[in-house]
């Protein structure tokens, strides 16, 4: 059991609005070019997604980087940056306006450059009552959290409640954490060189044989994964021996360099993190998301 500064973290409300999907205007060429060079028209980022949920497979959908549940964005660019940086996976979200007013959900991930959305899980009946523009407050708490015993491990986009449930263990000065899979550095794509405090980095999926070789072809939305030989302390990039940890937050993509998005949760550039592959470790189990519209928390975990 490691100790953190969680009782000194600030909880602050952030606001985003349910955002519509968006396509380019005239001359009306809405296609994405897939990795074979073929133009494809598919549902993509944004919107209220009714049938792709946390826990579902990331591969096989006729979609491009689908954000499960609801994607929100603040109308003002600077406010949206704050929303994207400070919202943490596991934070509670509350619908403040519209037909679903009062409903509660849970932040499950983020999207990066070109979208800058925060992704929120709600129960199916809540999704049915939502429209674009509905205001959603995220009760942000987690940024600034540190582990007393591991000052070299940086935590980001990680709510205290999720950290407490990740089942991390200290072993001989190293932190062991169960993961669904370990991704090799050569498969990390779009997002490299960009911030790891917000947004997401893609697991490249053009080379299907490489995905199978590393046991990544069965990934699910919400899976906890490690990235080998990677430094995500500030921006994302290769570093031999470094280990990053994240959660799979959007579905596969048809574009070269892209693939399932991973929202970063931890980075140990000097390698103090030991990922321990298990059958599956997923937000659905960790945060009790299936069918529930509210995360049940123990007294020790508090209200955030």
């Amino acid at each position: 059991m490691v100790s953190t500064n969680r009782d000194r973290l600030v909880a602050m409300s952030l606001m985003g609005q349910v955002i519509s999907p968006s396509y380019p205007a005239i001359p009306a060429i809405p296609h994405q070019i897939d990795h074979e060079g073929k133009p494809r028209l598919l549902p993509s980022l944004g919107g209220i997604v009714y049938n792709v949920k946390i826990g579902d497979p990331v591969f096989g959908w006729a979609g491009d980087n689908i954000e499960p549940g609801v994607a929100i964005k603040a109308p003002d660019a600077a406010a949206n940056q704050a929303l994207n940086l400070f919202a943490c996976v596991g934070n509670e979200a509350v619908v403040m306006t519209g037909g679903a007013k009062g409903a509660r959900g849970v932040v499950t991930g983020k999207s990066g450059r070109f979208a800058e959305h925060v992704i929120i899980h709600f129960a199916p009946d809540v999704l049915e009552q939502m429209v674009f523009g509905d205001k959603i407050v995220v009760r942000a708490c987690g940024v600034g959290m540190t582990i007393d015993e591991f000052p070299g491990i940086r935590l980001k986009s990680l709510a205290p409640v999720l950290f407490a449930r990740l089942r991390v263990e200290e072993n001989d000065g190293r932190l062991t954490v169960p993961v669904s899979a370990v991704v090799p550095p050569e498969l990390m794509g779009a997002g490299a060189g960009l911030t790891s405090d917000g947004g997401a980095i893609c697991i490249q999926s053009m080379d299907r044989a490489a995905l199978r070789k590393h046991g990544l072809d069965q990934l699910r939305l919400g899976d906890i994964v490690a990235i080998a030989d990677y430094d995500s302390a500030f921006l994302h990039g290769y570093r031999k021996g470094g280990i990053s940890l994240g959660v799979v937050s959007s579905t596969d993509s048809i574009k070269a360099g892209y693939g399932p998005g991973v929202t970063l949760l931890m980075s140990a550039p000097r390698g103090e993190l030991d990922p321990m592959p298990v059958e599956q470790i997923n937000l659905t189990g960790l945060l009790e998301l299936t069918g529930a519209d509210r995360l049940a928390r123990t007294a020790e975990e508090g209200s955030l």
């Binding site: 050569e186 921006l235 290769y238």
Partner: protein, 288 residues
């Protein structure tokens, strides 16, 4: 002689103005988490040109010589997509009016090399016109190898050999393993570059990649950039270093795409002279 559609290419003017350096914020974080302020991008760089080392400058993303862009968004993108490496540039306003230069890279700005006496005369805001030719260039007998951002002069200078079995061979200054490719995977291969990741200095040195020069022609292993930029085992991309190193994680010298094949139809061998400065007789010619 590699057969191309050279005779079908259209030559068209695109233009921009010499663009001033700008600051996005007072400080950014380097790999160690230290705040830094460094110059490097935009403006007129008087003492760094293509052919110089990409490393060792007290700079971030150093753009050699002159950086230009266009104030109009549409014209700016025309400049980005149509300008090719090796295209002729002409100064059309200011003290250096009439001076000739050569396009050496496409990054946040289009990078143009001029001789030192011309660089001294150029002012921010001076207009520069580029005779863009190269967009649409194809190798007629190698349709599955993509060709990008190359003037016919650069294509001819690359020393491409035909091996007679459907493959070609190109000399390169160095080869980069796919796992060292960083920022830029989110952009299409027809737009700017993808940075090498250079924050792991030990790995860089162990691979002999710490002496690269701006203008070096490189091979990127296991990267397919025929459409966008991504990992594919066995694929090869031939690129060009367009700007200097960076202190930020996931960044480093930029690699612009010249040739790419999803399968292994591009062979290469190491020849340190494979550099734009030597090929086009521009910049600082350390290697000739």
């Amino acid at each position: 002689m590699v057969r191309t559609n050279r005779d079908q290419l259209v030559e068209m003017a695109v233009g921009g103005e010499v663009w001033p350096p700008t600051l996005r914020g007072p400080y950014r974080a380097n790999t160690q988490g230290e705040a830094f302020n460094l110059m490097g991008m935009a403006g007129v760089v008087l003492n760094a040109r293509v052919g110089d080392l990409a490393y060792g400058w007290a700079a971030d993303h150093l753009e050699p010589a002159v950086s230009i862009r266009n104030r109009d968004d549409g014209a700016e993108h025309a400049l980005h997509y149509l300008a090719c490496i090796g295209n002729r540039a002409v100064v059309t306003s200011g003290e250096a009016k009439g001076a000739r230069g050569v396009v050496t890279g496409e990054h946040a700005h289009i990078l143009v090399d001029f001789e030192p006496d011309v660089l001294e005369q150029i002012c921010i805001g001076d207009q520069i016109l580029i005779h863009a030719i190269g967009m649409g260039l194809e190798m007629l007998d190698y349709r599955d190898i993509s060709v990008r951002k190359m003037s016919p002069e650069l294509f001819a200078a690359l020393r491409i050999e035909e091996l007679g079995d459907g493959r070609i061979r190109v000399p390169v200054a160095a080869e980069i393993p796919g796992y060292l490719m960083g920022s830029g995977a989110e952009l299409g291969a027809d737009y700017v570059d993808q940075d090498m990741t250079t924050n792991d200095r030990e790995t860089l040195a162990s691979l002999g990649l710490n002496q690269l020069r701006i203008g070096d022609i490189l091979a990127v292993r296991d990267h397919d950039h025929t459409m966008n930029r991504g990992y594919r085992e066995g694929a090869i991309t031939i690129g060009l270093i367009n700007h200097g190193d960076s202190v930020m994680t996931g960044h480093g010298p930029g690699v612009m795409d010249l040739l790419s094949c999803a399968t292994s139809k591009i062979e290469y061998y190491i020849d340190k002279r494979a550099n734009l400065a030597a090929y086009l007789g521009i910049g600082n010619k350390h290697l000739t």
